[in-house]
């Protein structure tokens, strides 16, 4: 059991993450502080949620980039709708409306893919462009800082508070609970439901999945609906965390989220990927960003270092696989390997 865990991709990502933290901690001891933990988690929340939505699609063998557009449109359109009505209530209604829109938008992707036998990435590229254009033209092109009265307190709604010697009082925002709950749900969904197992089956071998009796179209619709739903949650959460509604939020970030999912061990060709790996992948990218600041690398050179680290992290597994193949140790990774 333990030796099995030690061999997983997730474990090597975990080791890299721990190693990175130790190195940065040695350079700058202030890195090991409660505020670093809280800040990293806070910055990761929306990426966790979006990555959890993307993960099942990747496992099913697709690549989607439209989830960022769904996040932007659902949040911004909901805000325009409610503020137009003079709404001054809390955040719940925001989440309800945005989630309904998100599910519909996710289902649109799924419908197009299923009905017209299209490649997921191509459809998502079209809807990505379309929804951002829709947002900017029909909804508005300016950032909106006017939040309803009752939602203002939400920003400081912490579940944990701590005193940090460096920055004073700091807290962990309540929305981390959403990320945890959603993560657990997706984990359960992928591992213990027939639909979830079907997702792995589709990614492993689509024709075999069809012949085994999985209702592929229905499964894909559910997966796309889930993606839209989670994108909407992420969009609204981000808006309230940053205290403004931005029509082009996340527009440059779909590939970063995808990179996090893939770094976490999901195969871009489908059939492989876990929630734990995704959590580690997202954390890795966030910790790298934070670590570079703490390690004292000048701001303008940070992106170069991130690039080098990404090149290193993507090369290592590839080199390792080549080494194993030369030794004749590589067996096809099947759908069941999880």
């Amino acid at each position: 059991m333990i030796s099995k865990i030690l061999k997983t991709t997730e474990f090597s990502v975990f080791l890299i993450l721990v190693g990175l933290c130790i190195v940065v901690g040695l350079i700058n001891p202030a890195f090991f502080s409660i505020s670093t933990v809280f800040d990293t988690l806070r910055a990761s929340i929306v990426y966790f949620i979006m990555a959890f939505g993307l993960l099942p699609i990747v496992i099913a063998g697709g690549v989607d980039i439209s989830f960022v557009a769904i996040a932007a449109v659902t949040a911004y359109a909901t805000h325009k709708l409610l503020s137009g009505q003079g709404y001054q209530g809390g955040v719940t209604l925001y989440f309800v409306i945005a989630c309904a829109l998100g599910v519909l938008m996710g289902l649109l992707n799924g419908f197009l893919v299923n009905r017209f036998k299209l490649i997921i990435f191509n459809v998502s590229l079209a809807t990505y462009t379309m929804w951002y254009g829709f947002n900017l033209f029909f909804m508005g092109a300016t950032q909106d800082f006017n939040l309803p009265k009752d939602t203002v307190g939400y920003y400081g709604n912490f579940i944990l508070k701590a005193n940090d010697p460096n920055v004073g009082e700091t807290g962990l925002h309540v929305s981390i609970l959403y990320a945890i709950f959603i993560g657990l749900f997706v984990w359960w969904f992928l591992r213990y439901t027939t639909i979830g197992r079907g997702v792995y089956a589709i990614g492993g071998n689509r024709s075999v999945a069809i012949r085994s009796g999985f209702k592929v179209n229905r499964i894909m619709l559910i997966v796309f609906g889930l993606m839209g739903l989670l994108a909407a949650v992420a969009g609204v959460t981000q808006a309230f965390l940053s205290r403004n509604f931005n029509p082009v939020i996340f527009i440059n970030e779909p590939l970063d989220v995808l990179a996090a999912v893939i770094l976490g061990g999901a195969a871009i060709t489908g059939g492989r990927g876990t929630v734990v790996g995704t959590v580690l992948g997202v954390l890795l990218i966030q910790v790298i960003r934070r670590a570079l600041i703490m390690a004292g690398i000048p701001v303008e050179w940070q992106r170069l270092v991130v690039g080098l680290i990404l090149i290193l992290f993507t090369s290592l597994p590839a080199l390792n696989e080549r080494r194993l193949r030369r030794m004749g140790h590589v067996t096809e990774i099947t759908t069941e390997a999880q």
């Binding site: 459809v123 079209a126 990505y128 951002y132 254009g133 033209f137 092109a141 069809i210 690039g307 993507t314």
Partner: protein, 347 residues
């Protein structure tokens, strides 16, 4: 998955006498149809759309994205993808820009300045080659999946530009730089001439050389390609070098038109647009028609300029093009599906 009707003829066509012509396929007809419909629609709706001024301005704008898309399709046909194209073009522009600003003496004669500009342009092409080598090493020789490798190098190349410039836009070039981006040749804007030349080069490379045949072979089936004795690694290396050089040409066009070199010019949006053009042109691993790329770029520009003139005065009118691009793409997918006669259905 789309079934591809050209598959059986791949070998036959290339072994034939290689006639020097653009292949016309269904997508070409479809794109031509869409193009004509759009031009007529905007021509009727707007008085300014079909004026020589508006056509000239379109011919100045579209080559940047067109050449970038050509850089993208080379890799897609080979079975990969190159997300670092825009980072490459910006890196080339930034380094060449710094070369000009820092090293060109202030009291230089026009001839000297021209010489420096020519050296700067060659430097940009060399940077294109270098970035291609890095991508080729990662993808071909180390075996990193193309999407991950080029995502990493995209960050890395942008990182180099950011680090060297400190995030600032490079400006203050000699006037000779603007020649490419603002002058015309026999009435045709020079960027457009360059776009046409690069399109023809891409076509010749892909369809008139054994290198191109190997690229398509490898894209269609890498395992089969390697069994026929093709050195996949070397081909991948060359493909990404060509892609890098095309990206550097985009850098030249951007730098010359804007007279500046910005690290974030175009950002991720340009990369995704280049992929969007490839998808619109129905470029798939192993298969593709360069003329379709040309048509796809024209159509995007017509939609952009067309809606700008029709919606003149409406707030945020320039954003409507993005919406229309997405809708058009979905429409073309759907039309294609019905034209294909629902072949390739699995259930």
């Amino acid at each position: 998955m789309q079934s591809n009707p050209e598959k059986p003829t791949l070998l036959g066509r290339s072994q034939a006498a290689r006639p020097l012509r653009f292949q016309i396929d269904r997508q070409t007809v479809l794109l031509l149809g869409v193009f004509v419909v759009l031009v007529v629609f905007f021509g009727v709706r707007s008085r300014t759309f079909l004026t020589s001024r508006s056509i000239t301005s379109m011919a100045f704008q579209l080559p940047e994205l067109g050449v970038l898309a050509l850089a993208m399709i080379m890799t897609i046909i080979s079975g990969g993808i190159n997300l670092s194209v825009n980072a490459t073009s910006n890196l080339a522009a930034v380094l060449a820009g710094l070369f000009l600003v820092r090293l060109l003496p202030h009291e230089a004669t026009p001839d000297q300045a021209t010489l420096y500009v020519v050296i700067a342009l060659l430097l940009m092409l060399a940077i294109g080659v270098l970035t291609g080598i890095i991508n080729g090493l990662l993808i071909g020789y180390i075996g990193v999946p193309p999407i991950l490798a080029t995502l990493a190098t995209m960050t890395f190349f942008t990182g180099i530009s950011t680090g060297i410039t400190g995030g600032k836009t490079v400006t203050g070039f000699p006037d000779q730089v603007s020649v490419i981006g603002s002058k015309t040749l026999a009435g045709i804007p020079i960027p457009f001439v360059i776009f046409v030349i690069v399109t023809i080069i891409a076509y010749l490379l892909l369809f008139q050389t054994s290198f191109g045949f190997k690229i398509r072979m490898m894209g269609a089936n890498p395992t089969a390609a390697s069994f026929t004795g093709i050195d996949n690694k070397a081909i991948i290396m060359k493909v990404y070098i060509v892609s890098g050089v095309f990206a550097a040409v985009t850098g030249i066009l951007v730098m010359s038109r804007t007279m500046s070199a910005a690290i974030e010019y175009g950002s991720t949006t340009y990369v995704l647009l280049a992929i969007l053009i490839s998808v619109l042109a129905n470029i798939t691993p192993g298969f593709g028609n360069v003329f379709n790329v040309f048509m796809a770029v024209l159509i995007l520009q017509v939609l952009s300029t067309g809606f700008n003139t029709v919606l003149l005065g409406v707030s945020g009118s320039s954003f409507f093009k993005d919406f229309s691009w997405g809708v058009l793409m979905i429409l073309i997918f759907v039309i294609n599906y019905f034209l294909q006669g629902r072949k390739g259905q699995q259930e």
